[in-house]
């Protein structure tokens, strides 16, 4: 590598290791995110997004959070966070595990400082007693004519900031994994239906799984006071014709099988019918309001449930039959009633059936996201609820018999000063008591 490219590398490194870059990028994320809440986004408001003029759509303003350049900003932020963390690691490591006692009185923090006079051995004993009593870990150094120490309390707090920043990278990686692999889809099915997972409507990704879902029951359960309790779906997973798992799910209580999670998202009423096609009896479940259709095998006849009166005791349905695109018959039936359709088949209404809408998702990144969240919280707790205190002191016997004590100010000068004053008072108390006793 020649000098010039080394110079460029250094500049790039400097840009990425700067906190200013990080704050600037965060600012960009904030501004872009804010703009995204003012312009309708395709993912949340597809109709609204359609009405935005074409130029904004082309520039990505209607799918801001999925645009390459928004991801690029997040990527740069990650790089910045990683570079900053790498640069700070050794310093934090040394500070926590290999603290250096001061080599001269100049190395004692000056803004928060005090001097305590007394015999050397008593000062040493007093300061060690007071600080260990307050939970400090002391590292001492003794050289000719000089004794010094550095004392730390809550030293793990030093790691809070680094952990917080790395947690952010883990979070973004988790989100990236989720957006690259995995899938998201939706299906609606009636009671008794069995549906291969490959046939669901997929809005993102590809389905590689091979099992089927069977809906055993679907229910819109009400409480005694008439309010909705929840929607419940009893569902089985079928693999090679065998039931391998079964669970009842409801809103807020999803069901996960082999990394694929099913969420109760919707519910509709439907009707159970029997289609009798020349002696062959086919059970059919249709969703209310024409949500789905049934094609009578070997014909171009399509059966719809246009409307229904969902009275559990006396349900009534209105069905429609299409031949190709044109409606050929419409009829009303009550429970148990049968109609002959076009002399081709007989339709019998067998009763009401729940129709359940399930969101299906496979997101291998989600656990990485939770890991990131856990690390983020741990880092923030260490940063803000576990602030470290560092005190150092020196006795230079050549000059005079006194202890020069100082505290690293940290981010809270007033609090540190209070903690420091308390320690000084305690040490002085011991020295005076010692002198009075001798």
């Amino acid at each position: 590598m020649n000098d010039q490219s080394e110079g460029v590398m250094e500049k790039v490194w400097n840009i990425f290791s700067s906190m200013k870059t990080g704050v600037f990028l965060l600012g960009v994320v904030a501004v872009v995110s804010g703009i995204g809440t003012l312009i309708p986004q395709e993912a949340l408001d597809p109709k609204g997004a359609q009405s935005v003029s074409a130029i904004w759509k082309t520039l990505g303003f209607t799918h801001l959070y999925a645009t390459i350049w928004f991801r690029l900003v997040l990527g740069l932020l990650c790089v910045n966070l990683i570079v900053c963390s790498v640069q700070r690691f050794s310093g934090i490591y040394r500070k926590t595990f290999k603290p250096n006692p001061p080599q001269s009185s100049k190395a004692i923090p000056q803004k928060i400082q005090a001097k305590i006079s007394g015999p050397e051995s008593e000062l040493r004993a007093a300061v060690m007693k007071v600080l260990t009593g307050k939970g400090y870990r002391l590292t001492t150094s003794e050289q000719e004519g000089r004794w010094s120490f550095i004392a730390q309390k809550r030293r793990w707090g030093n790691w809070g900031s680094l952990l917080t920043h790395l947690a952010f990278v883990v979070l973004i990686l988790g989100a990236l994994v989720g957006s690259m692999i995995g899938f998201k889809g939706y299906f609606m099915a009636g009671v008794g239906d069995t549906l291969p997972i490959k046939q669901i409507e997929v809005s993102k990704g590809n389905v590689n799984e091979n099992f089927s879902m069977k809906i055993n029951s679907a229910e819109d359960r009400k409480l005694a006071n008439g309010e909705r309790d929840n929607w419940y779906t009893d569902m089985s997973i079928i693999e090679s014709g065998k039931e391998v798992a079964r669970q009842t799910l409801s809103v807020n209580h999803p069901f996960t099988y082999q990394g694929v999670t099913f969420y109760q998202a919707n519910f509709a009423q439907g009707g159970k019918f029997t289609v009798d096609l020349k002696g062959q009896k086919i059970p059919v479940v249709l969703q209310d309001q024409g949500g789905n259709y049934f094609q009578v095998p070997g014909t171009d006849l399509y059966l719809f449930l246009s409307a229904m009166k969902a009275d559990p005791k006396a349900p009534v349905v209105l069905y429609q039959v299409y031949q190709g695109n044109s409606p050929i018959k419409m009829g009303q039936m009550s429970l148990g009633q049968a109609d002959n359709i076009d002399n081709t088949f007989t339709l019998t209404f067998d009763g009401m059936a729940g129709y359940t809408g399930l969101q299906v998702k496979k997101d291998p990144g989600v656990n990485v996201v939770w890991l990131g969240c856990a690390l983020l919280m741990l880092g923030l707790i260490l940063s803000f609820y576990w602030r470290p205190h560092t005190l150092s002191g020196i006795i230079e016997t050549k000059k005079e018999s006194s202890l020069l004590l100082g505290a690293v100010r940290g981010r809270l000068a007033v609090g540190t000063q209070e903690e420091f004053n308390q320690a000084v008072t305690d040490v002085e108390g011991l020295i005076t008591a010692g002198s009075a006793g001798s």
Binding site: T37, L44, L376, F384
Partner: protein, 285 residues
């Protein structure tokens, strides 16, 4: 039974609003008069208001048979509780009575908002959709309440700082006269605001995370960029920037105080602005 409870709740609501108004006025009077009994009275009325607030929340829990955290009205009551509880803690812990003059108008204004903008149908304890039946909702709202309450306190401290520091000389020594002279030194105000934001920031983070966990249970997505989520992220970024620029440029004092004010405006926008100006999933509260 329910009627009695409803009456108690309504009575407590008016007790709160009167107490918060009176305590605001009392705190203002303590700024101009040095009477100690006035200060005690202001604190006493604030405690009374908080007691009324607490009872109102408990009664609502009994009526609704669930935590009172499910619509705009209930959330404003919890928000007020958070502000006043964190305020009283700060008053006792740090002995800054003047802070009440800048914090106590907030719960009063929030309750006035309920009276002016919310009809009875919006206040009633109604049935909640299945999506809201989750333990995570409770964690989500409690962390929001404490974080927002603490941000309100840092807002009050920021305003005090801006008033106080106008009369500081180059060495940071105050030449303030009159009522402002009784504020604590500007450095103490600045550091206290920083400390309180340091307390609130992890809670805001936890609020966003518990929201994400809950959304993942309910809808299968932990983050969908709906306006409420996005604005909570923006608020989070503002406070994150506050914490960073303090280290980076040594932005203490005035600039920090402006960020404390600005940050709280973002909190209010996340809470009100998003619901009333922008559409989204968070149609509940």
């Amino acid at each position: 039974m329910n009627e009695t409870l409803n009456n108690i709740e309504v009575a407590m609501f008016y007790l709160m609003i009167i107490a918060y108004l009176l305590s605001t006025v009392m705190y203002w009077l303590t700024l101009v008069s040095k009477k100690v009994w006035l200060e005690h009275l202001a604190t006493g009325i604030t405690i009374l208001g908080l007691a009324g607030n607490t009872v109102a929340l408990i009664v609502r829990t009994i009526i609704a048979q669930r935590p009172p955290l499910s619509n705009g009205y209930e959330f404003i009551l919890t928000f007020c509780w958070g502000i006043v509880a964190v305020y009283l803690f700060a008053e006792f812990r740090y002995k800054i009575k003047a802070l009440g003059s800048f914090v106590m108008p907030l719960p009063f204004l929030l309750l006035t908002f309920i009276i002016m903008k919310m009809g009875p149908e919006e206040r009633v304890a109604s049935a909640i959709p299945p999506a809201l039946k989750s333990q995570w909702l409770t964690f989500h709202v409690i962390t929001a309440m404490l974080a927002y309450g603490a941000f309100a306190i840092s807002f009050g401290l920021g305003v005090m700082y801006l008033l106080k520091s106008r009369s500081d000389d180059e060495n940071g020594k105050s030449n303030a006269k009159g009522w402002i002279s009784r504020f604590p030194a500007s450095q103490i105000l600045d550091e206290l605001a920083y400390k309180i934001i340091g307390f609130a920031f992890p809670l805001l983070t936890l609020c966003i995370i518990t929201g994400a966990i809950w959304a993942n249970y309910a809808w299968g997505t932990y983050w969908s960029w709906d306006p409420k989520e996005t604005w909570s992220l923006i608020t989070w970024i503002i406070y994150a920037a506050y914490l960073h620029v303090r280290l980076m440029y040594g932005w203490k004092g005035k600039k920090a105080a402006w960020m404390e004010v600005f940050g709280f405006l973002a909190v209010l926008f996340t809470f009100f602005g998003v619901n009333y100006l922008l559409p989204g999933l968070h149609s509940y509260a």
